[in-house]
Amino acid sequence: MSDRIAQKPDSVERALRRSQPSDDSAHAARRLQRRIAAEGLADVSYARLDSPFGPLLLAATRRGLVKLAFPEEDVDQVFARLALRVSPRIVAADGQLDPIRRELDEYFAGARRKFELTLDWTLVPPFGRRVLRAASAIPYGGVLSYTEVAAEAGSPRGSRAAGNALGANPIPIVVPCHRVLRIGGALGGYAGGLERKRFLLELEGTL
C-alpha cells in the first residue's frame, strides 16, 4: 500500500531505518522454547533423530509418540496433518524427546528388543488401531502374515484392509509393521521402502 502523498524519505526516515536494533532474536527464541518445554505448553513437541535411514522426524504429544516420519516424507504435510488432527501448538523441543530418541538409538544399536515409550494413536482410525495393536504384539524376531494380523484385529477376511492399515502406520519401527509378511515369507510391502523392511528384519535376526 502506498502512501497517500508519495514522498522522498527524508533524513529522519532514513536514520530510523538505518539504525535499528539487530535482528538477533535467536537467543530470545531459544529461551522461549526452553520455557515452553519446561512449562509443557506445546501440544506437540518434535525433534530429529539420526538413524541408519537418515534423519527421522519424531513428534510427541503429552500422551506419547504420535508420529515417526522417514526422511523423504513431506514435513509440511506431516505438520499440517498434526495441526489439523491434534493441535497447531507444535514446537521444536529436542530435550522433550530425549527418552524416545534414546530408545530408538538403542534399538538401532541392537541393544533394545522392546520399546517402553508410550504411544498416542490420535492419527489412526479405529480399525487401523486394532491392526496396529495386533502388529505391536508381534515380538522382536517374530513375524505374522497379513491374514493372521487381520484375524487378530477381528476381521479374518480383511487381509487387504489390514495391509492398508499397516501401510498407513504413522509410527513405523516402533509399531513394528515390518514384522508382517506374506504367507510363505515374501516381504510384501512397506511404506518406507522394502529395503528398510529388510534392514529391520535383518537387524532383528529374522532374515
Binding site: 500500500m1 515452553i36 505438520f79 493441535s87
Partner: protein, 166 residues
Amino acid sequence: MSTTATPPFQAFLDAERDVVWRYLASMLGAIDAEDCFQETFIAALRAYPRLTPGSDRRAWVLTIAHRKALDAHRARARRAQPVADVAALEPCGAATAGAHAPALAHDEELWRAVGALPARQRSAVVLRYVADLPHREIASAIGCSEDAARRSLHEGLTKLRKVVEV
C-alpha cells in the same frame, strides 16, 4: 491440504521472531524486550489454536507485542524511572560501533527522541520503520483506524524532525 491452514507454531515463531524482537527492542530497549518477547509469544501460543486460518499473523502478534510493551512501560513508570531510559536502546541499536560510528551521536539522539514520543506515535513510528508494516497493519496492531495510524505516524515524524534536524 489447504495452504491457508494454520502453520505449526514453530514456523510462525521462526517467521515472526525478528520483527517482534525489533519492535520490542525499539520500544523498550533490549533488556525489557527480552521479557516482553517471552510474554508475547507465550500469549500467542496459548491463543494460537483459536486463530482464524488465513488471518494476518504478523499484525496479530504485533498487536500482542504492542500490548505487552505498553504494560512494560506502565510497570516501568510505576518504578518511577525516567522515560528517557529508552536510551538503554543503545547496546542493541546499530549505533554500536564500526561502520555506523560517525552517525552514532545522531542516532542515539534520534532514538531517545523516539522513546520520548507519546505511546501511540512511538508505536506507529516503530511499526512503520522497524517492523516495516503498511498503515493498515499498523492500525490493526495498535487498535485504531487507518487514518488515525497515519496521523500518529505523521505527528511522530514531525516531532522527530524538530528534535533531530537542527
